[in-house]
Amino acid sequence: MAVVAVLVLHGLLALAAGLSGRRLGRRVLLLVACGPLAAVVLLVAHALGLLGSGALATSVSWVPSIGLQFDLVLDGFGILFWWLIAGIGLLVMVYATRYFAPRDDLGLFASMLVLFAGAMLLLTSTDNVLVLFVAWELTSITSYLLIGFDDHRAEARASALQALLVTGAGGLALLGGLLLVAGSAGTTSLTGILVVAPTDPAAQAGFALVVLGAATKSAQVPVHFWLPGAMSAPTPVSAYLHSATMVKAGIYVLARFAPAIGPVVGWWAPVVVGLGGVTMLLGGWRALRATDLKELLAYGTVSQLGFIVLLVGHGDPELVHAGATLLLAHALFKATLFLAVGVIDHQAGTRDLRRLTGIARRMPTTALALLVAAASMAGVIPLFGFIAKEAALESTLHVGFGGPAMTAVVVVGSVLTAAYALRLVWGSLATKGPDEVDDDVVEPREVARPAPGFEGPAVVLTILTVAFGVWVAPADALVVGATTALVGPEAADIHLRLWHGFGLPLLLSSVALVGGWVVWRWPGSVRRVAVVTARVPDMEDVYRGSLRGLLAWADRITAVVQPGSLPLYGAVVLSTVLLLPGVAVLRNLALPEGLVVAESGLQVAITAIVVGAAIGAARVRRRLSAVLLLGAVGYGMAVLFVVQGAPDLALTQLLVETLSLAMFVLVLRRLPERFESTPWRFGRPLRVVVSLGTGIFVAVFTLVAAAANRQGTAAADFLERSLPEGGGRNVVNVILTDFRALDTLGEITVLVVAAIGIALMVRTPVEPDERGEVGP
């Protein structure tokens, strides 16, 4: 039950922050920080065993009819994610209070942030696939709003839209995949699906879509380009969403599916691992050329995400264990790096490493934090990053099929990681010579010293990175819990160790570090590789090109389909009626037997008049004459109703006919007097054919429909009950206002909407066009 309480708290805080944003100013961020704080308290209580066993699993049925159970199961893997989301969330919110200058829309920012945190917590704790999708979409939407928070900057809006489109499309793919898989497995519960592990073609297609969805969210190549774009978001957002939590949602889904699906679905491991490997290499490579610190970190994140996907996607217990460790390590050091870069950007006013020099002396604490985090990223001994890399290298060695290839990719990836880590440290902190810096460099003394509270969060994370390196137990417990939740109890004996002895992994790590230094020191050495990657198309241009093409194509279609001529619309509508239902009626033509043509001479006379008037209405040149002839048709119909013995119908028909005559007159005043002749030669014959066809179709259709009524009419029943129950002899009115009152209620609502619609349409000011004529 506690889990639900925490989630609901996030929702309430989002509402409260939204409302009270203006009054609280920057303190609103502290208000929303209570959400992650509550989650942390819950986790600590759980870690200390204070909670009962049931506290972490609840089941609330949301929409039982479509299997939408709101059951939450917080297992080991969920807890690992909760630590990340809540812990880093808390620190980011504290950090944000210093980062932002006082502004009145902080309330919106805070509510979006806590809503995002709540969505992520829900995503990682729900066992129902549909609820997972709802949370997934919520994160996409909140990320869109957060990226585009500085909405006055066009670039922020553009990248926010880009992120939304890509992750949104991914979300659609995920929904499709999940539905397919849930359909084959027969249950919408995630654990249920993993137990059944369906492999029929539909499920396989489902898994492919799930991988696609996860790939967009976790910025895997080729849909990785939205992440560097998202760097135009405020730094707290980048640190929280686009490094530690949101981009890991895809990994969460892949990790959940991998252990059960990997061995069963043949293509799963190669595809996912391959995807991860390519992303790792390409991400690392692009990071080397980045000059904006946040862009460098963004590509670094893409690379690290690839690395985690490579480990977690395989499904082998040891690899999953290493993946979970890296997941934790990456969250720690990448969030620190973002926070540190945020401090530098905030104080120095720029993130371009060509304009920064001598920062280390101006803000030693941030510099130290950045240095340690970068070292952990590169995998330098005693830090937690090193342990993760060692575990990864060791586990790839033990993998049978494809193991060596994976190890090679990891080593090359680590070389690149080490290289861009050095580039980051040198770029942001070092005191550079005149030739290594642009002319508009920010002089160190112009950089103000950051307030202590501002650097606090980064320091806390750095302490964790160092502490987990030296004292592995707490991290190990967390990771083992996560792995056993994913793979099962047999993974319980895999443990983290700082020192693996002088084995191959240590050698490979040091090779990676040295290689990294070489690549960074002498970029010339990798010139040849640059030629190869230059030919890879930049996905961002592909995205922009496809968007432009889509819009151009849409314009062309609208021009063709909606040329603005009313008769054409009419013809299209009627001919569709003729084609689709018309053909259907013709195919099973069952005319009622004993077709009575006319009961009395009078009916024939009246029908003749009606038909005569109708033909007249079609032929006459003047608009109002046509309306008058139509009036004759309507009155003729009313008389037919009288002859058939339906007074209510006759009354309504007469009245409606007169009112439409009135409305026609009111409108026709503004229209030219005569019908325009059709410019197109075939206009007239086409109209005759279409209208004749429609007339015949309606007649035949009515007959067939009447004949098809097998169960007998409801009239008898209504007639009987009219007086006793309805209290009235006029069965028509009793039906209208009593038996079927709900339908009438619907109808009068339609009337209200129609009245409002017309009023709005007519009263919107219409500028007379060039001929001075007020348009129709």
Binding site: L666, V734, L736, I748, I758, G772
Partner: protein
């Protein structure tokens, strides 16, 4: 204005009242004889159209000063209220109730809750006609007038 016909105005006063009265008659007679909310609304609507023909939008406003959305809203609300009342007392939404009332002048009258619903329908229909007259009539008049004045035709 030169366009108003005195004869029409005189006769109209008489006919208008008769029409409205007949409309109300249809409403109340509706349950047992032909009629009902919808028809009654249309009859009264036609009477309003007559008023519009005679004296334009100003005349209609004089006769029925209400805004049309007030009528629409009141009608819909009344219909829902009668439904909700059925729900609260009778257990199901739009549940009908019957009562035999002793009204001094009219003698024994058996009224049904459906009548309230019918009045709601009536108001909605009148509101619709009024709305149409106001938007298609009055608004179009304004456009027409300024178009005519721009083209120098004394309308």
């Amino acid at each position: 204005s030169p366009r108003r016909s005195v004869i029409l105005d005189v006769v109209l006063d008489l006919v208008f009242r008769t029409a409205v009265l007949f409309g109300l008659f249809l409403l109340f007679a509706g349950h047992n004889a032909p009629g009902g909310g919808f028809v009654s609304g249309l009859v009264i609507g036609t009477a309003l159209v007559l008023r519009y023909v005679a004296g334009g939008a100003a005349e209609v406003d004089r006769v029925l000063p209400l805004e049309e959305h007030v009528l629409l809203g009141a009608g819909l609300l009344l219909a829902f209220a009668s439904g909700a009342a059925g729900w609260i007392f009778g257990g199901a939404f739009l549940y009908g109730a019957k009562a035999t009332l002793e009204i001094p002048v009219l003698g024994t009258v058996n009224a049904t809750s459906a009548l309230v619903f019918d009045v709601g329908v009536d108001l909605v229909v009148i509101g619709l006609v009024l709305g149409l007259l106001r938007s298609l009539g009055a608004a179009a008049d304004r456009d027409a007038d300024d178009v005519d004045t721009r083209r120098g035709v004394a309308s």
